[in-house]
Symmetry: C2
Subunit: 246 residues, 2 copies
């Protein structure tokens, strides 16, 4: 398939649906503050970490063995993961920056996610910490995939459209001008409207006796304050490397 700004936007729209469904899944459990408390994982050999941290590391160690992090938009949250035990054949050769190790928003995503759980989930403690953190990891992975995919692919395609312009902005060192050039307010507003509408729609047949509903405004705000800004921050990281390819 040809990679164009349209196919990239379509992929981002698909990832948006995944994020929403993972957040709805997480919100079926309470905030469960204990699951994030250091030293309370219950794992004897993990005296310092929280249950959330242990689950994140175990999941990423497994995923890394299966080759997840060979895919450019899959950026890990943990350091020191084991290497892949199988080969993965990336589908295309689209990204011209090959060493993307430094392009990661993982720590910002992780930080922002804690506040999101507080805003989305029912308050209190239901004791289902294992399920809560399992769904945390799925939601985090979906959010990170969306942000990093956008950062890498949108930046590459925009650079190709105007290479001289972006090279000059990067070399001029004017990050504000670069950010301004990457920002299309009407596109962003359309994404926010679509996200709010989709959160409401996907929960339209929820039986409130069965499932807790999340607030569309909270997801919209997370997109506005975190997903889109971090994507653009990642685009700039990519463009700086891209403009320096000789």
């Amino acid at each position: 398939m040809d990679i164009t700004l349209e196919t990239i936007a379509a992929r981002l729209e698909g990832l948006e649906e995944t994020i929403i469904s993972k957040l709805v899944d997480r919100a079926q459990f309470s905030r469960d503050a204990s699951a994030y408390e250091p030293g309370k994982s219950g794992f004897e050999n993990e005296p310092v970490s929280s249950l959330f941290e242990v689950r994140l590391r175990h999941t990423e160690e497994m995923d890394s063995r299966f080759g997840r992090f060979l895919v450019p938009e899959e950026r890990p949250f943990c350091a020191g993961l084991p290497g892949p035990q199988r080969a993965v054949h990336p589908e295309n050769n689209f990204l011209k920056v090959k060493n993307i190790a430094g392009i990661t928003l993982a720590s910002e995503i992780r930080e922002s996610y804690r506040a999101l759980v507080g805003a989305l989930c029912p308050s209190g403690d239901d004791g289902q910490y294992g399920s809560a953190v399992e769904h945390d990891i799925f939601a985090l992975q979906a959010i990170a995939r969306r942000i990093h995919f956008g950062a890498l692919y949108v930046a590459e395609i925009k650079f190709r459209q105007e290479p001289a312009e972006y090279t000059s902005l990067v070399h001029g060192g004017n990050t504000n001008a670069l950010m301004a050039k990457l920002t299309r307010k009407s596109v962003e507003d359309a994404i926010f409207d679509r996200v709010r509408e989709k959160v409401a729609y996907l929960q339209g047949r929820i039986n409130p006796l069965v499932r807790f509903r999340i607030d569309p405004e909270v997801v919209l705000q997370y997109y506005r304050d975190t997903v889109i800004p971090l994507t653009k921050k990642g685009e700039i990281m990519y463009l700086i490397k891209r403009a320096n390819i000789t």
Copy 2:
């Protein structure tokens, strides 16, 4: 919360939504027959297993350490898993049969699932085996949770409503009569209608450029031919043990 036939039905309805969303996720990848071929996992230390089998075992080993299989409705597909490394406090004491180890439909579910993938997913091979099997495990876990939850909880509540009747049917050894007593055709038909409708609804805003749509009829048939019959088979397994509690 009081456990009644209504709250159990509500939980089953919620799990139904989870199954549908996991199946839609899986169907974003092709059938990918290679992922199920023995000896093609790519893992050097796994010369015999398929990638699917390796992923299933690694996931269940991790989940077992986190205590998943201490929850009655979470029945594993693999044998010989490591024990839990943390304590999980089951929420209630509702099920009167304590040793449910023998009540499992795992092998039937796993068998039926392979045909379901063939019917649901786009034909062919997209090379994304890692993602395909990752989503297989999520879908399998959701299906198994629904079937085993139904088997255990529905059987327990029905037994409580008519203990003498069920005890006599079990001791009479008449499985057909037991199956007839557990079957309420109007309830099953209502579930089938709801499943078909929900599969269509949940995909109502899917952008076909972005996401592949699954066929509501295929999911309905899977419910009719597999989910409901296996749930009732599990109910009978439970009732046989339940009627022999002295």
